[in-house]
Symmetry: D2
């Protein structure tokens, strides 16, 4: 019953890069948080501290900054692919590179002036193994709310169930969604904007009997509208809004005054997929 | 040398209120975080645990929710004044009420559908003492960046100074600004939007030799454009963006590739005021 | 190419439970954060909003509180198993229950007085599927530092490598470790304390040539000392401490003055396992 | 009605310093977060961007690191005084220096091995003006809980009061306390430990009828035991623990099962002082 090294990887996390592209008087801004993780033949450093196969994480950071100058930074998916392929192609002991990028959007206020948006974060996770690559795009921190058109009833009741049935409630969530591409998109930016629009539109248009139903509708809509996407995975916290009992004060409360709760919260997680897509290059759920 | 009770106050902090106003099919959403602090004759509870003058903080929370129904919630300044006056007028032992509100903006996606904005938080701090009231409005979390038109040189050099002079740098900050009103505004919402616009415009238009200069320009612009405001106080973190030295890689870096730093950061704080305004009802700086 | 529902689950996250056990004058305190996720036959609610198979997440919360009274709360692993088995055994449509618990430790100050410790969080993730159960214990937020006995050199150098070789550096990390049990422990508390001690002792006693080497030593030590554990997975951020260049001020700096960096940070992740253990009931890495 | 510059200051915030003191094989660790703010004659930089009176905030950071080497770092109060006096004495245009330090404690695991404690943060705020100095010491993040010996009743009831009277409840808080010294302490470390012990002991020993009563007892105890302290200011959130109603499940709940709430929370703030102390050098409340 020997003790052995199992799966492992290492890298540099959260390299914060701001890239200014100057086109005369008018500047463009790219604001990224880049994390790199490499795996391959790393037994030596684990077992004996032999670092002859270890590219320093400091070098990964330098590579991010140098590539931002040499190649510019366009869509985060492209930049992640460029980085991932570089590490796999130049380091023989590295078999797989995972490059994760968070992108922060800024609104333009002037030729060289910007205001950070803050309404969502665009994400990319690219995995490169040998000649193959897998691109997952996504969004986090997108907070949506319907103030009606949401019901919840007909559920299981057991000894511990006290929840009343609801025929009109607030439905709110902070969308965390990630979708795997079938192949490189012609235009990653347009693909992302289209996917984001599909998620938002489905949330708005779905008359909901459960957050699960809304989740499925959001994933389905995204797949319907984006043929370049293989599957989508969503984690939707149910951000509960509790109706306040105002009867002690002689007031009714016809779905007007709510407590916005912090914890606990529901958490609904699910995948919507196509029945004929090739399997993922690497497991990427959670 | 007796030990005695000094200044004190108590209240309920961070009551989270979502108020839906229903106008037929079309809903409007108000999303607030309300904190109340009362002071007055509270010696008994401190010295002996005699609570006969203590209105429970739970009651303050209930009052927030009940008032949201009874009176609706319009501009946060008005709602804070309503609450503050209620506590001072109905509790004789309470001499001063401070009501602080954070307001979170949502963009409309449909008649009853909304997306949280996240680009700034609107704040209000109202102090009511007897018949007098002081209203401070403000903004936090407004992140602005100029990618050029910022220099910093001509500063003091001592033994510990290594900073090179800069003739072109990124200037970025997260605006935290609060302004005291001379009197009740005719339209608190228009006043806030005008103040926000003044701050942003001055940041964009000021060719800056120091963040202090930009701070003063922002405060001055706000006072010029909003006659209803007595003074403005700003705390501006200097969110440093460090130019990356790419010369080891044979690359130049003409203000294109930056590290977005976390800590340490500069912190510039200042007041811009009118030379003839009445003093504040209560000290409100910090 | 039909669109179909893939893997999914739902539950209540972050139910905050404080349980006081009163033994006469002397009280004991258990402080937990409990999350439940159920999966099984949930197609109806996703596709049509038919909730006839949905036990409300509100009921899960109620069950946590009711069980805390009915059964008391001992070791978190036992409490998680109790909850997980309850959901699988009483809800035929539920095939798998995952119960995750964070435990916060308090030091005793008196018979009924406590101070929160804050030096680490104990974690448990229990998965129950049919008659089988898998128990993973762990720790997060355990911050360790060696101020010497750490080197890093002999690594790969490429075009982007500028890192100097180090023969004396600070090694610091925030331990995030999770270990899968082979079977129910006789004493979960003793098992956890023993595992924690193994991790800390290995960190202290390992003269380190890389954080990977320290990671492997920590995992190996845990397995050597805890025969009830099948494998351990560690995620160790390399919390960089940068030596300050004081030469501009005419000062040397023989490893005495450091900048504690925030971002970026290294991230070293790895598994240490036994070569003959049965496979995990469900994938649990990440 | 001219627009003019009002009070202002600037500095470097959150310089993270780790100082290793090496005494042969045995190392000692000091882990600080240092913020500096200077005020004085800074009109030029605000009005015209003339920086001839501005010591860069980058220099303040350098000074922190250089002083850590030149002078070592003992008690944070001493280090803050050293820094504050340096800026006021060497920069004629600087009239006041405020140096704020957070100190993070580590437990020893070996001659050069440490574990971060995390149970509280020690704070220091030193203000130097000309030849005068004011030292404020403090603590934040100290979480205390009594599981009984706390009541709350006899309070005011108005139309919005629904809170039942409590004769046995949990009392919990996260202590934020700051105390002003009459003069330099002979031993800042012993003074801090004594003050911390006084706060904790008073919390434990006070049978409480309100958190205000406990606050006053904590402040009074500190002043009784530390004659070097002029006054103490406390901000105590009332971390509510709500008794769960288990009656729907046929269970009673004699103060055993609680929900640990996040928001809203009570917030009790107060000062305990001596009736004959000299006034503060600068206002320091909040």
């Amino acid at each position: 019953m020997a003790i052995v090294l199992g799966p492992n990887r290492y890298g540099k996390a959260e390299t914060r890069l701001v890239r200014v592209h100057r086109d005369g008087e008018t500047h463009a801004l790219v604001d990224l948080n880049v994390s790199v993780a490499l795996s391959g033949d790393l037994t030596g450093t684990h077992l004996t501290g032999d670092n002859s196969g270890v590219l320093p994480t400091d070098t990964m950071k330098n590579t991010v900054y140098a590539f931002a100058k040499e190649h510019g930074v366009g869509e985060p998916e492209s930049f992640a692919l460029l980085l991932g392929r570089h590490f796999v192609n130049t380091q023989p002991q590295v078999h797989t590179a995972k490059v994760s990028i968070e992108s922060y959007a800024w609104d333009r206020l002037g030729p060289h002036s910007f205001q950070r948006r803050g309404d969502h974060t665009r994400t990319t996770v690219v995995t490169v193994t040998g000649d193959a690559a897998q691109v997952v795009s996504g969004v986090t921190g997108l907070v949506l709310l319907n103030s009606t058109a949401s019901e919840f009833h007909g559920f299981v009741r057991d000894r511990f169930t006290t929840l009343p049935e609801a025929t009109d409630r607030i439905l709110a969530t902070a969308v965390d969604a990630h979708w795997r591409h079938l192949a490189d998109a012609a235009d990653w930016g347009a693909s992302f904007e289209g996917a984001l629009d599909a998620l938002k539109t489905a949330f708005v248009e779905t008359y909901s009997y459960s957050l699960q139903q809304t989740l499925y509708a959001m994933g389905r809509r995204l797949l319907e509208q984006r043929p370049e996407v293989a599957e989508v995975r969503l984690a939707l916290p149910n951000k509960h809004h509790y109706l306040v009992d105002l009867s002690p004060f002689g007031l009714d409360n016809p779905n007007e005054v709510f407590i916005a709760g912090d914890r606990p919260y529901g958490l609904i997680e699910g995948t919507v997929t196509r029945d004929d897509v090739p399997p993922a290059l690497t497991e990427w759920w959670l």
